[in-house]
């Protein structure tokens, strides 16, 4: 695969990206990689390696201090902030701390992306009910996050991230609070979404989990730098759809 061919299918491109918080030393340095549309990627690394920071750049919660980030073929570093919402709607995010809205029910939390996208109320009920059922919370739709266990909250967060059928799904330690069976089910959901064309990026320490997804690629961060001895991630892998 040539570099030119790879760029044609790249949905995410980082070029020499650096991120610095305030006057501290760089949290991320010279990060360059490309992710293919429809790929499945794991992001791993020790605590403090910069995984969450990299994901923040990816889901547009942060602008880099330097370098170029292209999402869906557009440079998002110089993009006016009024255009960011359109990009964010194409990205689903499972936050490490879930970030469920505490005063909303599980149902309303999951429905949030659809309402933000302006979907009619009558069209919201069916997909939300289906998603609740899928994550095993069919009977807990009206429960507030505070009354849910950590694992249940995480499932609500995942349902919320995927309900809008995002083009990119970014998940920060999505299986950290669930048992092995639920972790397997969540991974199955991610794979199903991936087969539908969603590019998946999962930050995790869970090596057994990574080994369960055939064809997935791994990015490893080490002290803010991408440790990629094989160089495979400098160019996008073939889309799983194309396999």
């Amino acid at each position: 695969m040539t570099r030119h061919q790879s760029d044609m299918t790249a949905i995410v491109q980082f070029e020499n990206v650096g991120l610095r918080y305030g006057l501290d030393s760089e949290t991320l340095s010279d990060v360059s990689f490309s992710l293919a549309a429809g790929g499945f990627y794991f992001l791993t690394g020790a605590s403090g390696a910069g995984k969450t920071s990299l994901l923040k750049l990816l889901y547009l919660a942060q602008r880099p201090s330097r370098g170029v980030i292209r999402l869906f073929g557009e440079d998002v570093v110089t993009l006016p902030r009024t255009r960011l919402p359109g990009f964010r709607r194409r990205i689903g995010v499972v936050f490490q701390d879930f970030r469920l809205v505490p005063h909303l029910s599980a149902y309303d939390n999951i429905a949030l992306p659809l309402r933000v996208a302006g979907m009619e109320e009558k069209e919201i009920d069916a997909p939300v009910a289906e998603m609740l059922s899928w994550v095993g919370l069919g009977d807990r739709g009206q429960a507030r996050p505070a009354t849910l266990s950590g694992g249940e909250q995480q499932r609500v967060a995942i349902a919320r991230a995927v309900i809008g059928r995002p083009e990119i799904l970014v998940a920060d330690e999505p299986t950290g609070n669930v048992d092995a069976d639920m972790a397997r089910r969540l991974l199955t959901l991610f794979e199903a979404l991936n087969r539908l064309g969603t590019t998946i990026v999962v930050a995790t320490h869970d090596l057994p989990l990574m080994s369960q997804v055939t064809g997935a690629q791994m990015m490893r961060l080490d002290k803010g730098r991408l440790a990629d001895p094989t160089g495979s991630l400098r160019y996008p892998a073939r889309s799983r759809q194309a396999e």
């Binding site: 919660a61 942060q62 902030r81 809205v101 909303l104």
Partner: protein, 302 residues
């Protein structure tokens, strides 16, 4: 039709759930109610005083009193009759009417007691003069000369001169009321800015999540502006209702005094209509201020 209305209601309910807090739960509606109460009272005072000054000016502008000062009652009556005849023939005068001595005595009775009606008391005879329209001062000067030619003791006093200081006072009070309305408007805007900032800060977590899901600043600002607009509507209606009740009670008290002067301090239909616009203006002010405040705050985030 009804399903789309139900859908809109459901969407509104969902938006309402995003920013928790029941109606009249916080201090905002109550503060707005107090502001609106004071604003309506001030505006009513300004409008009523303005109307009173206008009515007074219109009423007094073309009028004057002629005093026939003569100690001898018989001579006074003769002189009054001659003066009346001369005034009625003057081109400057539209109407000249002698004031009934009994009515005059009634007006003097609170100060002079029953002696006010005594023939021994040299009370001047009075003639009410209504001038033809325009150039009051010049006409009064000409009439003064005419009266001087009849008898040097005759005096003419334009009514406007008596009440000029009072009209000035009422005008000043009217402007003071307008100033209070302006200050209240500024204070209401400041309260809304503080409330919007506080609401923005207390819902920062929700706002961050909404932003990351692709909410636009306008979508988020809309949540706050409708919430604050509803609070302002509730507070405004409450404050307006109390102010109207207060004005009606004051109106009854003014009527009870029987004073023509105080009776002139009243609101006409236009005045009431303008007052009714104040809660609407209050809601608009709150909505626009809240939107502007929240958009500014959101603009500082990515």
């Amino acid at each position: 039709m009804s399903s789309s209305r139900a859908s809109r209601r459901a969407a509104a309910a969902a938006r309402h759930r995003l920013l928790p807090g029941g109606r009249l739960a916080g201090p905002m509606p109550w503060i707005i109610a107090i502001m609106m109460f004071l604003t309506v009272l001030s505006a009513a005072a300004g409008l009523a005083l303005g109307a009173a000054v206008q009515a007074m000016s219109a009423d007094l502008a073309g009028r004057a009193s002629v005093q026939v000062v003569e100690a001898d009652a018989a001579v006074r009556d003769q002189l009054a009759a001659r003066t009346l005849q001369a005034l009625r023939q003057a081109s400057e005068v539209r109407a000249a009417t002698p004031v009934d001595p009994a009515a005059l005595a009634d007006q003097l009775r609170p100060w002079l007691g029953e002696d006010a009606a005594s023939a021994d008391l040299p009370v001047p005879a009075l003639i009410d003069v209504t001038l033809t329209p325009g150039a009051t001062e010049a006409k009064v000067d000409r009439l003064r000369r005419l009266l001087g030619s009849i008898a040097p003791s005759l005096r003419i006093e334009p009514h406007a001169a008596f009440l000029l200081p009072l009209a000035g006072l009422l005008t000043a009070l009217g402007w003071l009321a307008v100033g209070v309305v302006v200050l209240m408007t500024v204070a209401t805007g400041a309260v809304v800015v503080l409330a919007a900032r506080a609401a923005h800060d207390s819902h920062r977590g929700t706002i961050d999540v909404l932003h990351l899901m692709g909410s636009t600043d306008v979508q988020i600002a809309r949540l706050f502006q409708w919430r604050i607009g509803l609070d302002a509507l509730l507070g405004g209606v409450l404050g307006f209702a109390f102010a109207v009740a207060t004005l009606l009670v004051i109106g009854l008290r003014l009527d009870a005094t029987g004073s023509d002067l105080l009776g002139a301090v009243a609101l006409d239909g236009t005045g009431w209509a303008l007052l009714a616009l104040l809660p609407v203006a209050g809601v608009l002010l709150a909505v626009i201020t809240a939107r502007w405040t929240v958009l500014r705050a959101l603009g500082r985030a990515l």
